[in-house]
């Protein structure tokens, strides 16, 4: 089964702080995603990428940057963290087999901005 590893698992920072969330997948999937999960909002797409050097804008990109350095690694950057960015962040990679697609999610990073 595809493996998606996120780090750190938990992060606490202060308002205005600089945070980098890391994600690595080991199955050579092309697409990778960053979502945030908040009660009442479900999973909201921040950024996604279809390969190294590529970045696509999601539905809630404000305040976030992302970079796909390799096929395996996708980073989410919060350069001036705000309390509204307190959330559970999920990274995922997409497997495609024929007409079937499936996202494999990491375990999530719980971010608190004080």
């Amino acid at each position: 089964e595809a493996a998606v590893t996120q780090s750190p698992r938990n992060k606490v920072t202060v308002t205005g702080g600089n945070v980098t969330l890391s994600c690595r997948q080991t199955n050579s999937h092309n697409y990778m995603y960053w979502y945030r999960q908040d009660t009442g909002h479900g999973l909201r797409l921040i950024h996604y990428s279809y390969g190294a050097g590529n970045l696509q804008i999601g539905d809630v990109p404000d305040g976030y940057k992302a970079t796909r350095t390799t096929q395996e690694d996708f980073f989410l950057l919060l350069e001036l963290a705000s309390p509204s960015q307190t959330s559970l962040y999920f990274c995922a990679s997409r497997e495609r087999r024929g007409s079937n697609e499936r996202l494999f999610f990491g375990h999530g990073t719980k971010l608190s901005v004080l």
Binding site: Y31, Y33, Y35, G40, H41, G42, L43, R44, L45, Y48, Y50, Q56, G58, D59, F90, R94, S99, N100, E101, R102, L103, F105, G106, H107, G108
Partner: protein, 113 residues
Amino acid sequence: QQQVRQSPQSLTVWEGETAILNCSYEDSTFDYFPWYWQFPRESPALLIAIRPVSNKKEDGRFTIFFNKREKKLSLHITDSQPGDSATYFCAASEGYNQGKLIFGQGTKLSIKP
């Protein structure tokens, strides 16, 4: 703007009953509709998915009914079990190679024994 909407927000049914979870979408270019489920303190995982070439997809006790004209779909869980208690997300994507997958806000399902 919520492109994928789910109702109800939460649902409780008795063990053995059929749970019905609803989903609607706005963009007629969406052509792939997966449902993911998420157990407490775990990550979402794919449950079942459908493409508009079909109006029904069945996998054991789980069935998706799809109405392209009304832009609605529903997930039916027959003979509900306590182990089905989870949050269910409807999602949608457009175009086989577009890659963007949008989720609804979820339905929290509780099955009472």
